[in-house]
């Protein structure tokens, strides 16, 4: 007979799941759990400075490895602070298991100290959630939570555990099997054959690849499909790196901040092969005018994504990798010379133009320079805003899971704790966190965690003393009425970093920029690289929110623009 408290049961079940690191913060309602965790020899606790930080660290680990990660928080404010990180995981389909303390069962519903309806509050932002009512239930709930988080389309699962359940002693015969992902449903062979026919008949196909392809490990199969049939491939923000973004067939990122040629090629395609994507408005623009002449094949593991936003001519429920691998032998080898020539002309005539910079540093050049100083496979986290889009536009992502970014929820404050999580999962390898001053200030307390853990995180702060993307939209769409988006108080981030015990380097001195960068990146442990940029530098091109992707503002290449015939007239048959 095995005899354990509920708290010990949780910790041992986590060990049996293979969990080795748990970020979190203790508090009144999860102290029994922390007491049990303190005796674990296999799980290391990482003390975050805010529960949202703990949630994003778990996400960083999960995004970097693909494995389900865990975080802890106490009841009440601990749980509410975690909610943003959980919602973020939901929108980007990231497998995490959040375990929160709750007031004792006898006090639930009495408005007890630090009581909040964590179960009710987390329903809309989790894939599934549990309120555990007895310690015995943990033997079913914990493996189930891991199974649900990792199965099909992954997502966050929350387990709320009242304090009396943590202290309750139970006896049981044996441990349950660890929870593992259910096998994905088999891809329908007839659907695959139809898809292959559509691809073989298509004159101007484009592959449209998203986070689902990264998650399923479909990158390699997609690259082979693209190469075999000469299919230009565009990626969503979440899909960047699925195939190398500087692959000759890559069209890089599509949508609101795509290069002009990318959106133009999509406008001209006659077949859109969408895999692991959800037709997000930032990618499609006005959806009725997205790929107007194309038939659509849509592959997704989540059947509710098929026909949700755009009706597919062929919807295939299944794992992206399995589907693409099944397609490969049935798709004919093809040169598609006309289409390749057309896309080549678009690329030459409408390339991504470096962001015009009036300040000391060009953001695009900074991103490029840093990528050249790092290994090709180095992990890159971003926060949310202009810097995120500049990184998405020009960083040469080379592999899936290289970019960790908050795509769906767009959470400022994501970057630093996610980067710490990635560094915890892959100790030793440097992780770069591109951030902005607005984003960094939203979770800057985690610099203390980075210092404490000696995380090899290089924070590259593009500082324009403003909420840059808001500033840009006010400039472009609100008559340049800048309001609430510029910071009057200019934070001295060098001193702030120093206060956290994190070395800081200033790139504000033009003559020593490169050496400062090299020095910072070669250092072991965390550091902050402060890069002042001009508030007037915009992310271009830009599709206005709600407009069709063909209506791009800015980012034009004036020199070659006029030498090319109107692209619509030159679309090959």
């Amino acid at each position: 007979m095995i005899q354990r408290t509920g708290a010990q049961t949780i910790v041992e079940l986590l060990e049996r799941q293979g969990v080795t690191i748990v970020p979190g913060i203790p508090g009144g309602a999860n102290l029994p759990l922390y007491d049990a965790l303190s005796r674990s020899k296999r799980i290391r606790h990482v003390l975050a400075r805010h529960e949202q930080g703990a949630g994003f660290m778990a996400q960083g680990m999960a995004r970097a490895t693909g494995e389900t990660s865990v975080c802890f928080a106490t009841s009440g404010p601990g749980a509410t602070n975690l909610i943003t990180a959980i919602a973020d995981a939901k929108l980007d389909s990231i497998p995490i298991v959040a375990i929160t303390g709750q007031v004792p069962g006898s006090l639930i519903g009495s408005d007890a100290f630090q009581e909040v309806d964590t179960y009710g509050m987390s329903i809309p932002v989790t894939k599934h959630n549990f309120l555990v009512r007895s310690a015995r239930e943990l033997l079913r709930v914990i493996p189930d939570a891991f199974r649900i988080a990792a199965s099909g389309r992954p997502g966050p699962v929350l387990i709320d555990v009242p304090k009396d359940v943590q202290t309750e002693v139970i006896e049981f015969e044996s441990w349950p099997e660890p929870g593992r992902a259910d096998p994905s449903p088999a891809v329908d062979a007839l659907d695959v054959a139809r898809a292959a026919d559509m691809i073989n008949e298509s004159q101007r196909p484009v592959l449209y690849i998203g986070g689902g392809a990264v998650c399923s490990g479909a990158g390699e199969a997609i690259r082979r499909l693209a190469e075999k049939a000469c299919i230009p491939t565009t990626m969503t923000l979440m899909g960047l790196g699925a195939i190398p973004v500087d692959h000759p067939l890559s069209l890089r990122m599509l949508g609101m901040h795509a290069a002009r040629y990318t959106n133009m090629a999509l406008e001209d395609c006659d077949l859109l092969i969408a895999a692991g994507v959800r037709f997000d408005d930032r990618a499609t623009g006005k959806v009725a005018e997205f790929c107007p002449t194309a038939k659509v094949i849509h592959v997704d593991i989540d059947p509710s994504e098929l026909d949700k936003i755009k009706s597919a001519h062929l919807g295939i429920e299944g794992d992206a990798r399995e589907a693409v691998e099944a397609l490969l032998p049935q798709v004919h080898k093809s040169g598609r010379t006309k289409w390749m020539d057309h896309v080549g002309r678009l690329k030459a005539a409408y390339p991504l133009v470096a962001a015009a910079s009036g300040g000391p540093l060009s953001p695009h050049r900074l991103v490029r320079t840093i990528s050249e100083l790092l290994k090709r496979d180095a992990c890159v986290a971003t926060d949310v805003g202009q810097h995120q889009m500049w990184v998405a536009q020009v960083y040469p992502f080379n592999r899936p899971r290289q970019l960790l970014t908050s795509g769906g929820l767009g959470t400022m404050g994501f970057g630093l704790p996610a980067a710490i999580g990635a560094a915890l999962a892959h100790p030793g390898d440097p992780v770069v966190c591109f951030t902005g001053d607005g984003s960094l200030l939203m979770n800057i307390q985690e610099l203390a965690t980075a210092a404490e853990e000696a995380s090899n995180v290089k924070v590259v702060l593009m500082n324009n003393n403003s909420l840059g993307l808001v500033h840009q939209q006010q400039n472009l769409f609100y008559g340049n009425r800048i309001f609430g988006s510029d910071y009057v108080c200019h934070v001295d981030f060098l001193k702030v970093a120093e206060g956290f015990g994190v070395p800081a380097f200033d790139m504000g001195q033009p003559d020593s920029q490169h050496s400062a960068l090299e020095q910072a990146l070669s250092l072991d442990g965390p550091c902050l690289i402060h890069a002042p940029i001009d508030v007037g530098t915009q992310v271009l091109p830009m599709v206005p929110p709600g407009a069709a992707n063909r209506d791009m503002i800015g980012g034009e290449n004036g020199h070659t623009h006029h030498s090319v015939p109107q692209h619509a007239a030159t679309v090959p048959a």
Binding site: K127, L131, D302, S304, D307
Partner: protein, 100 residues
């Protein structure tokens, strides 16, 4: 239900078999409000000796019905979703209780 009533409410009746525990109704209702689906009527009773419940929903049979059924099917606690026509008797018999 006669033809005129049918035209007035283009409805469908959904029969859900769900795990019976506190919170299942929140999951189902939460999904409806979160995705802005309308529910015209709802009934819930334990079934199968208490380990399952049946939830009956009267919903609008518009273009979003398929998506609604897919989202319901996705809920972890929903075991089965069965679609019936709007004139299923489960709601008809209740009309007497809803007269003001």
């Amino acid at each position: 239900m006669n033809a005129i009533q049918k035209n007035r409410c283009q409805c469908a009746t959904l029969e859900l078999t769900v795990h019976n525990h506190p919170g299942v109704m929140s999951h189902v209702c939460g999904m409806f409000s979160r995705r802005a689906f309308n529910v015209e009527g709802i009934l819930c009773m334990p079934a199968n000796g208490g380990d399952r419940s049946s939830i009956w929903l009267k919903v609008r049979a518009n273009g979003r019905l398929e998506q609604m059924i897919k989202q319901l099917t996705k809920l972890e606690d929903v075991v089965e979703v069965c679609r019936h026509d709007a004139d299923h008797e489960v709601f008809l018999r209740l009309e007497d209780f809803f007269r003001v």
